[in-house]
């Protein structure tokens, strides 16, 4: 039984279900108790032991059906249900017996079952094929990118400051060469920010003067404050959820922000990155790999169009556009829908929750006239310690057209105008102060 189950577990692993050896042992013991005669129970026993997340259930069903073929013929009883005692199920029972107990069921059937490839060719090819980026999506993005690229970039700040890269408006069209020039200033900005953070940390370690204790301690000295006790704030380890809009208009700001934020926050269990256009997708591990220059299996650099925003944002050799295009569930061509995103986030496990959680939203709040569902954000914010919203748009444009920012901002603790790199750095500083 064990070799057959091991092959099944290997097939599950190829589908992304990380079943451990201990779980395989559990599965073996479970099917020993349940037996292979009843296909439903047999499947339940394997599923209960091997799949420990809801996301894996669909993949399990697919692999199970491919691995343990359903009964070819099944008599239907009077109620129209497939009979579990009919000839079809009995034959399935024997087939399963042959598959899971190759040692105990000699004969041609068992040998054929053992020699059969783990998965049919169609499934195998699905698994082996690397995720492809739909050409239609690239086409649309390319079209969108082509038009503004040649247009002259508008600088709204005046004088010499306007020329400085950290004040370049990120919402304006920027060719990737200029993106690269802006990216070159990121290390400097990070260093400045790091200095500010470390100064703050030093002050925090020293603590503030503790007035009540000072009175008490100096009573024996006639109230003259010879001793000034200080009280340091309790060290908190916050969780941070970065909810970032990666639609065309804000993707560039998002790329720069994630790069800067990764210098201060270790992406993982305590810091999650959730990207969205019309629905939230957890991209923490992908962003972490992008920052470290590790190429994720899905990143296909040949499929990357240089016209997609973020091609010049390369912290370790891989462009931000390549990262975005490699994430299969992220529909970059969809119209932004903040309401749906907040609602889906509220309903999902990704929902930020906990008194130590800081939620950062980066986006322009443009919902394409979809329902804003601001109450969803309200529900989310009630479960967080604080919410910081970075708006990569000039303040004058907030609330105009399809922007639903005025509906969302009542539920936000701090709003930062982050239309340029300095704004993003300011937003990050706010986050680090809060976290």
């Amino acid at each position: 039984m064990i070799p057959a189950l091991s092959r099944f577990v290997e097939a599950l692993r190829r589908e992304g279900i990380d079943a451990s050896p201990a779980e395989t042992v559990d599965a073996t013991r479970a099917v020993e108790h349940v037996g292979p005669e009843n296909r439903e129970r047999f499947r339940d026993a394997l599923r209960l032991s091997l799949v420990k997340r809801r996301e894996g259930l669909a993949a399990f069903a697919r692999v199970f059906d491919a691995f343990f073929a359903p009964p070819a013929r099944g008599r239907r009883d009077r109620k129209g249900e497939r009979s579990t005692t009919g000839a079809g199920m009995r034959s399935t029972g024997r087939a399963l017996e042959a598959t899971v107990r190759p040692g105990s069921a000699p004969g041609a059937r068992a040998r054929r079952a053992a020699a059969r490839p783990v998965l049919p060719a169609s499934i195998r090819s699905d698994i082996e094929r690397s995720p492809r980026v739909p050409t239609r999506r690239i086409g649309r993005l390319r079209e969108a990118a082509l038009a503004p690229d040649g247009a002259p970039s508008e600088v709204s700040r005046s004088g010499a400051a306007a020329e400085r890269p950290e004040y370049r408006d990120l919402t304006r069209p920027l060719p990737s060469s200029e993106e690269r020039a802006l990216a070159a200033t990121i290390p400097g900005l990070v260093d400045k920010l790091r200095l500010r953070v470390s100064r703050r940390a030093r002050r925090a370690r020293r603590g503030r003067i503790w007035a009540r204790r000072a009175f008490r301690d100096n009573l024996s000295r006639g109230g003259v404050p010879f001793v000034l006790p200080r009280r340091a704030a309790k060290l908190r380890r916050s969780r941070v959820v970065l909810l970032v809009d990666v639609s065309f208009s804000t993707a560039r700001a998002t790329g720069f922000f994630l790069w800067m934020a990764s210098a201060f926050l270790a992406l993982g269990r305590r810091t999650r990155v959730i990207a969205f256009v019309d629905r939230p997708v957890d991209i923490t591990s992908e962003v972490d790999a992008w920052i470290r220059g590790r190429r994720e299996p899905g990143v296909t650099r040949s499929a990357v169009s240089t016209r997609v925003p973020g091609a010049g944002i390369r912290p370790a050799g891989i462009g931000f556009d390549a990262l975005l295009l490699s994430i299969p569930h992220l529909n970059l061509s969809a119209p932004s829908d903040y309401g749906r995103t907040f609602h889906a986030l509220l309903r999902s496990r990704m929902r930020p929750a906990g008194r130590d959680t800081v939620l950062v939203v980066l986006g322009d709040g443009r919902t394409n006239r979809f329902e804003p569902l601001a109450w969803s954000l309200d529900e989310i914010t009630r479960r967080c310690r604080c919410v910081v919203w970075l708006v990569p748009e000039p303040r004058g444009r907030w609330g105009t057209g399809d922007s639903a920012l005025p509906e969302y901002l009542p539920f936000v603790d701090t709003v930062v105008e982050a239309r340029d790199l300095s704004g993003l750095a300011r937003g990050l500083d706010t986050l680090l102060r809060r976290a």
């Binding site: 108790h33 439903e40 129970r41 799949v51 420990k52």
Partner: protein, 304 residues
Amino acid sequence: MANTDSVTPERIEEWFDHNGFVCTGQVATSLYLAEVLSKPVLLEGPPGVGKTEIAKLWARFHGAELIRLQCYEGLDESRALYEWSYGKQMLYAQLLREKVGELLSGAGDLGSAMTMLRGQADGFFSEDFLLARPLLRAITSPEPVVLLVDEVDRSDEEFEAFLLEVLSDYQVSIPEVGTLRAARTPRVILTSNDTRDLSDALRRRCFFLYIDYPSLEDELRIVEKRVPGASASLAERIVRFAQSVRRAELRKAPGIAEVVDWALALVAVGAESLERGTLERTLGALLKNREDLETVLAELSRHR
């Protein structure tokens, strides 16, 4: 009380069904495997789909006591496992002060008094002064118990790690007392509303079952079973309506309990069908906040 040897998935399914709970094959198989392999079961799913009810019925099935540990943010060992009864210790110390004075009167110097005191003082840190919280009660109980760790996703990660340690060995180390081992392994059911991602380590130690909202047929069976006064056509309308409401973008989708409550309310007001007036009067049983009520009623008027 069920005899453990005679427990089969079919028997569990039948017993649950007989006791008013529509039990799917998956639930029966998970409980059966948890029983025969002595492993905890993690039930995950949206609120109101009957996860806690399964634990209650599982305890009744075995004729065992249900010990419930309700998790919340900030739950720590002292609330979940044990704490010392300081009040009792203080009271005993006060009552025994004279006796202690007598005992120590024989001591020649401070060192020997300390030695004598050290020999006596451990009595205050014995099991007599221990307040057992749910986890310790479940572990030390000589009788069979079902331990329900409810809404484990609400607890902190630190507590989850601690729980993992307890559930892996079913033993607890108390520095002053020693290691307390489970007299008999408790049956453990954990529930999660899926609001936070639980650690892989915890998931791996349990059989995992995701319970979603029931299908139309299953929910109809539940309503027919729990609300016998509802006619077949009314029950079907109720269930169809509830299923469509769940697809809407609401703050809180109605769970099975709410659907049953609503059906009971409709039967109580003598409703035969779902008319607008009846809906407006009774919808509060199904939807539990104002915005959701307004959304659904607005949607209803649009379709009229």
